[in-house]
Each structure stands twice: as C-alpha cells, then as structure tokens.
C-alpha cells in the first residue's frame, strides 16, 4: 500500500498475525455482550434466542444502584486527587529543579513495580492504623495511588511537549511562578488534564484487586459483581451489567485517547 514497497516485504503475513492477535484480544471479552442478549441462564452454545430480560433485571435493584453510586462518587473524587497529584508532581519534576521533586516523581511511579495485592494490604494496615478502617475514604486513597503512575506519565509527556521558550517568555515578562503555571502551562495542557482525569476515573471505576481489601460495608461495582459470581442464577445479570460497564469504559477511554492527541501532541506526532 505504501510507496516504500521494500520495507513492506513480509508485511502481509505480519498483518494477518496482527489481525489474529486482535481476535484473540477481543473475542473472549465480546462473548460477554453476546451472551447477555441470550435467552438462557447459561453461557453456552447454541444460542437460545434474543432477549432484553437480563437488562431489565438491572433496574430496581437497590444493591446494584448503591454500588453504582459508590463507584461513581469514589471514581470522581479519586480521579480528582490523582489528576491533581499527577499535574503537580510532573510539573515540579520538569521545572522544579529540586532533588525532592525528582524523588517524589520517581516514587509516584513506583506502584507499577508493586503487585496490587501488596498495595492493598499495605493500605489496609495504614487505614486501620490511622483509624479510618475499611471505608469509602480508604478506597479513594487506594485508587489515587493506583491511578497515580498513569496521571504522572500522561501529564509529564504533555508538559515536556510544550516548547520551553513559552514558559521562559512568560517568566521573563514578569509573570510569577503561579501565574505562569495557571495562565500559561495549565491551559496549554488542558486536553491532557481531561484525559488524565478520565483515565484515572476509569482505573478507579474498574479496579478490583486493591478495593477488595479496603471496602467496608459499601461495595463498589466490581465488588458487587464479585459477590454475584457465587450464584449461578445471576450469571446473565452479571453479563448484562458487564456489557454496560464495557460500553462505558470504551466510550471514556476513546474520548480520553482523542483528547490526549489533541493540540501539541498531534503536531508532534505528524512531522509534516
């Protein structure tokens, strides 16, 4: 397809492989929506006919709507915290010129190297020590931590893509650090801020491994799903709920992706 036919030798076979890989990646997950419309309590072939019954069972379920409300509130607050930390940590890492800022930025990305189960138990010990105990506040703290590496990476690459001269011009013209940050750097990276916010919301909304240790009496949506998996009868309901969650995740992740490549990012990616 491209003019550089030489570099494309073997691209055909490789293209086929990539296609197969995508099928492997998506097929198992797509079975959830498929069987959520299937008129049978079991996820098995042959399909028994189309139904919306399982989606109807989602309505008027107080346990489910409670879990949904918890997940939304926790997700928004955790996303706010993680984005705030991501912005400040990466800004100071790039422009703060202090060993402390560099250290904080390095530690902020450390959770990538710690399995979720250890993050979960370490926070469980901590919140019990400070008297919070397993609660929604504890979950928020846990999710700020889990989302932090993502927001730092997203914001850092965005700040780094803004030409240095812009910030220096603002400072030379007499703007204070605060004004430069708030009136110049932050507006220029607004799409990345929104992207970081949405991605950290999504991380919190879908997170299970850490929340398992930190939830008190109010479960989040993934914990609700986990509790329902014990009952074979609720399998179709779980699949209907899973389909809704997958759809929401895809929409939010897609929007975040578009935002992330807007403006400076797009200009850098296409060296026209």
């Amino acid at each position: 397809m491209s003019a550089r036919a030489g570099t494309n030798a073997g691209g055909g076979w490789l293209g086929l492989y990539v296609l197969g890989y995508l099928v492997f990646l998506y097929l198992p997950v797509l079975l959830i929506p498929l069987f959520s419309f299937n008129n049978s309590i079991q996820a098995a072939f042959p399909l028994q006919g189309f139904t919306l019954e399982w989606y109807r069972t989602l309505y008027g379920n107080p346990a489910l709507s409670g879990a949904l409300a918890n997940s939304l509130v926790i997700g928004v607050i955790a996303a706010f915290g993680a984005t705030l930390c991501g912005i400040t940590v990466s800004y100071m890492d790039l422009y703060g010129r202090s060993p402390l800022a560099a250290t904080i930025s390095a530690i902020a990305r450390l959770p990538i190297l710690i399995p979720g189960v250890i993050v979960g138990i370490s926070l469980l010990i901590l919140v019990n020590l400070i008297g919070l105990g397993p609660s929604r506040v504890s979950i928020v703290l846990g999710h700020i931590l889990v989302a932090l590496p993502t927001t730092v990476v997203v914001m850092r690459s965005r700040f780094a893509a803004i030409p240095k001269t812009i910030r220096e011009a603002a400072l030379d013209l007499g703007a204070s650090d605060w004004t430069t940050f708030r009136r110049v750097m932050l507006p220029l990276s607004l799409p990345a801020v929104l992207s970081a916010f949405m991605l950290s919301f999504l991380i919190s909304f879908d997170e299970f491994i850490v929340v398992f240790f930190l939830a008190g009496t109010e479960p989040t949506l993934p914990l609700y799903i986990w509790s329902q998996l014990r009952f074979p009868r609720s399998l179709p309901t779980v699949m209907a709920l899973g389909t809704v969650i997958l759809a929401v995740s895809v929409i939010i992740a897609g929007t975040a992706e578009i935002l992330r490549h807007r403006g400076l990012g797009a200009a850098r990616r296409n060296p026209a």
Binding site: G11, V18, L25, T88, V89, M92, R97, V117, E168
Partner: protein
C-alpha cells in the same frame, strides 16, 4: 547541584518557596505517606508476632523462618514464579510481532491499531477474567461449541481449574501491557541504522537479528517487567479459573489478611514477593545496561 543553576541566571532560580511548597505538597503527601510509609508498615509488621492486634507484638524473624522451612511456601512460590514466567514469556513473544508491525508496517492505520491494542487495558480486569470463566466452564462456551460442532460427545472438565487456565487467562488479561513498551523502543530506533545495515549488505533477517532486536531489548525488558509484576501477585485469576491446584503466592497473602487472619505472616510473605521482584528488576536493569551500552 545548585552550583550549575547559579552559574547561569535563569528563570528557574526565581521559584518562590510558597509556590514550590504548594506544588510539592499533594504529591509529597501521597508518595511519602501512602507509598513509603505504608510499605514501611508492611516491612515492620513482617518482623512482628501475631497476637491479634493491629501491629502485632515483639520483634521476631519467626515469620520468615516459617516461610523458609515450610515446603508449602516453596511449592507455591515456585509455582507462582513458573506461572508468572510462562505468562511473561508468552505475552512478550506474542506481542513483539504486533509491536514490530505497528512500528514498521502499519502506515496510516497505526494510530487506529495502537488504540485497538491499548483499549482492553482500560476495560475491567475482573470482566476480562470473568470472560475466560464462561469460556472454559464445564457448561461453558468452549465445551458447548465443541459438542455443537460434533467434535465431542461429552463436555470435558479439562479446561477449568488447571494451572494452564491461569496461564491463558493471565496472558490474555495482561497482553496489552506488553505491546506499548516494545513499540516505543522499536519506533525510536533511528531509521539510518536500518539503512546502514541494508547498505552494508545485511539481509533482512540478519539486520533484524543484529540491529533491530538488540536495540529493542530495553522495551522488551520493560514489557516483561510490567507483565511479571502484576501476574506474580495475582489472586483473582487463580480464584476464578485456577482451582486449588493453582494457588499462587498472592492467594496466600490475601488469605492471611482474610480468613487466616495472620497479618504479620501475610506481611512477611509480601516482603518476600517484593524481594523476588527486586531481584528481577535488578537482573532486568543489568541486562538493560548491557544492551544499552551497545547503542
């Protein structure tokens, strides 16, 4: 460090202390309190005895002696290492050609393909594991599809509750983690290196083996690390599709903080896992430096 800054009067020297403090505060609180202090608590607790209280009692290495002497923990640790190792190897090897295609052959479809391979990363991990449960179950998708197509007469139990099910499910769940680091490493190889190789008469395979592969090793190692770390500590997949024969170290840690209710011992197990990861990171660092020095 400050002498370099002082040598050239630049706007950087003017950062006001109040601004610096305000900007470092949120990140500093989270990193020092929620990460370092919390991990410190785990290490502290690992050296305490269990008396049912929050922080345990006394100062002891009893927990570590139990881990080291009880064959159960050796078996489970070894199994976790093998499962995480196989998953990491499988994920990285299968992801490499995809990353290669993205870097060199994707053309204008690149951004769409990049989005498609990273999208599963943003969907629920629990749901991805759950999908495999319905695929592998006794009355599940795979068995029923085989019976429907006339290949088998009876459903088989051979899928669910095996270590193989854990490997396949984990490899699928963490597949998107591996592609991006490898792709970034491949994408940043200067095209002039490849042109030089082919100008000097290297055939495509030689050029791949001698130029592309060594230059992409930092990405491969990073990919291996981001897959290995979450898989070694996983407890959800063994519980969902693994059955009792695939208990992993994460499962044991989780049960110490749940049913078994021996927090100090669970903390000691966590410290052991962190030490294992530290060893793997150091090995990867060493390998990275070896490859890095060639470029």
């Amino acid at each position: 460090m400050s002498t370099i800054v002082a040598a050239r009067p630049s706007p950087e020297t003017r950062i006001s202390p109040v601004f610096r403090f305000a900007m470092l505060l949120p990140g500093g609180l989270v990193t020092f309190f929620l990460i370092l202090f919390a991990l410190g608590l785990v290490v502290f607790l690992a050296f305490r005895g269990n008396d049912g209280s929050l922080l345990g009692v006394g100062l002891t290495v009893e927990n570590f002696i139990t881990v080291a002497t009880d064959p159960l923990y050796w078996t489970v640790t070894l199994r976790s290492l093998v499962i995480a190792g196989v998953v990491t190897l499988a994920t990285v090897v299968t992801a490499y050609p995809v990353a290669y295609y993205l870097a060199f052959h994707a053309g204008r479809r690149r951004n769409l393909l990049l989005f498609l391979v990273t999208l599963p990363f943003w969907t629920s991990y629990l749901l991805r594991v759950f999908a495999w449960k319905i695929v592998l179950a006794y009355n599940g998708v795979l068995n029923s599809a085989f019976i429907e197509s006339g290949l088998w007469k009876e459903p088989t139990l051979a899928f669910l509750n095996t270590p193989a099910a854990v490997v396949v499910t984990l490899a699928h769940a963490y597949a998107p983690f591996a592609i991006l680091p490898i792709y970034v490493a491949l994408d940043t190889i200067p095209k002039s290196l490849l042109e030089a190789a082919s100008d000097l008469g290297a055939r495509p395979f030689t050029s791949f083996r001698r130029v592309v592969l060594p230059n992409s090793m930092p990405g491969v190692l990073a990919a291996a690390l981001v897959v290995f770390v979450p898989t070694i500590g996983d407890y959800v997949t063994p519980a969902m599709v693994g059955g009792p024969a695939s208990t992993m170290i994460g499962t044991l840690i989780q049960s110490q903080f749940g049913k078994a209710n021996d927090w100090p011992f669970g903390a000691a197990l966590s410290v052991c896992v962190m030490l294992v990861i530290l060893c793997v990171v150091l090995v990867a660092r060493g390998a990275d430096r070896r490859f890095g020095s060639r470029t």
